[in-house]
C-alpha cells in the first residue's frame, strides 16, 4: 500500500476512535487528517515505506499506546481496564525495546515521516480528549479507542509494514509483533463488550 494511502487508513481509523462511544468527532483532528491524505510522504518512487520509515512508524505506534496505557492506569476505574492499560505499557515498551535493539544492530536509523508524525499527533489529541473524562465514561472511551487503534495498527502491519519491509529480521519482528496486536485487540473487544452490557 502506498504510504499516503496508509496515512489515510491510519488517521481515518484514529478519527473513528474519536467517534466511538457516541462522542462527537473532533473536527480539528479530521481536518488535519484530510490534509495529510494529500501529503507526500517522500517514500520514494514506489510509495511504500522504507525500512527506516517502518521503524519510525512502529516506534510511534508503540509510544502512542504506552501513553494511553499510562493514562488508563492513572484514571481507569474498572480494575480490568487499569490492568489492561498496564499490560499495554508493558507489552508495547518491550516491543519498542526489541525494535530499537534490532535497528541499532542493523545500523538502521528510524526516519520520521508523515505517517509516524500523524500517529503521534493523533495519539496526543486522543490522549488529551480522554484526559477530560473520568469514571465509567473514561473506561468506555479508552477501551473503544483501544479497539479501533489496535484494529488500525493490525491492518497497517498486515497491509503495509510487513509487505514493505526489506530486511528479513525487521519483517520477522513485525510478524512476531502481529499476534500481540491481535491479542490486544481481542482482549480490548472482550472488555468493551462487558462495559457495554447493561
Amino acid at each position: 500500500m502506498r504510504i499516503d494511502r496508509l496515512i489515510w487508513v491510519v488517521t481515518a481509523g484514529v478519527a473513528l476512535g474519536a467517534c466511538g462511544g457516541g462522542e462527537e468527532a473532533d473536527t480539528g483532528e479530521l481536518a488535519t487528517d484530510t490534509a495529510a491524505v494529500s501529503a507526500d510522504a517522500g517514500a520514494g518512487a514506489a510509495g511504500d515505506p522504507t525500512d527506516p520509515q517502518i521503524a519510525a512508524i512502529a516506534v510511534a505506534a508503540n509510544n502512542v499506546d504506552i501513553a494511553a496505557g499510562q493514562l488508563a492506569v492513572e484514571k481507569g476505574s474498572d480494575a480490568e481496564v487499569k490492568s489492561f492499560g498496564q499490560q499495554m505499557v508493558t507489552d508495547h515498551s518491550a516491543v519498542n525495546a526489541q525494535a530499537t535493539e534490532l535497528v541499532t544492530r542493523l545500523g538502521v536509523t528510524p526516519e520520521e515521516n508523515p505517517t509516524s508524525q500523524q500517529l503521534t499527533a493523533d495519539g496526543e489529541a486522543t490522549r488529551q480528549r480522554l484526559s477530560g473524562l473520568s469514571g465509567a465514561e473514561f473506561d468506555r472511551a479508552y477501551i473503544d479507542n483501544e479497539v479501533t487503534y489496535h484494529q488500525t495498527v493490525l491492518d497497517a502491519i498486515d497491509q503495509t509494514l510487513i509487505p514493505s519491509a526489506d530486511n528479513a529480521e525487521l519483517r520477522g519482528l513485525l510478524e512476531q509483533v502481529r499476534p500481540a496486536i491481535a491479542a490486544h485487540l481481542d482482549h480490548a473487544r472482550q472488555i468493551q463488550t462487558r462495559l457495554a452490557a447493561p
Partner: protein, 109 residues
Amino acid sequence: MIRAPLALFLCLLAASCGGEAGGAAPRSHLVEMRTFAFAPAELTVAAGDTVVWRNADILPHTATAAGRFDSGSVAAGAEWRWVATAGEVAYLCTFHPTMKGTVTVTPRG
C-alpha cells in the same frame, strides 16, 4: 467369574502397550506459547506426567490455573514445568487472558 482375570489381562495389555493412562513411565508433554496461543490448546496427560510450557513468543506469558498451578512470568525463550495431578484444568495467560488452554489429567494406572 471371568471378569476379574479378563480385567487383569486387559490392564496388563494396556500397560505393556504403554498406553496414555496405563502403567507406563511418566512422560513429558510440550505446550508452546506461540503467536499468543497455547499449542496444543487442549492436552490430555496422565497424572504424574510433566507438562512443559515453552515460550516461543517475544513477550512474557504465564500459564495460570487458580488453585492448581501458576507459572508466574515465563520470559521469551524460557520454560516452566508442572507435574500433573488428576482432574480437568482450564488455564490462561494472566497477561493476555484471551490465551487459554486446558489440560485433562487422567488417573495413572
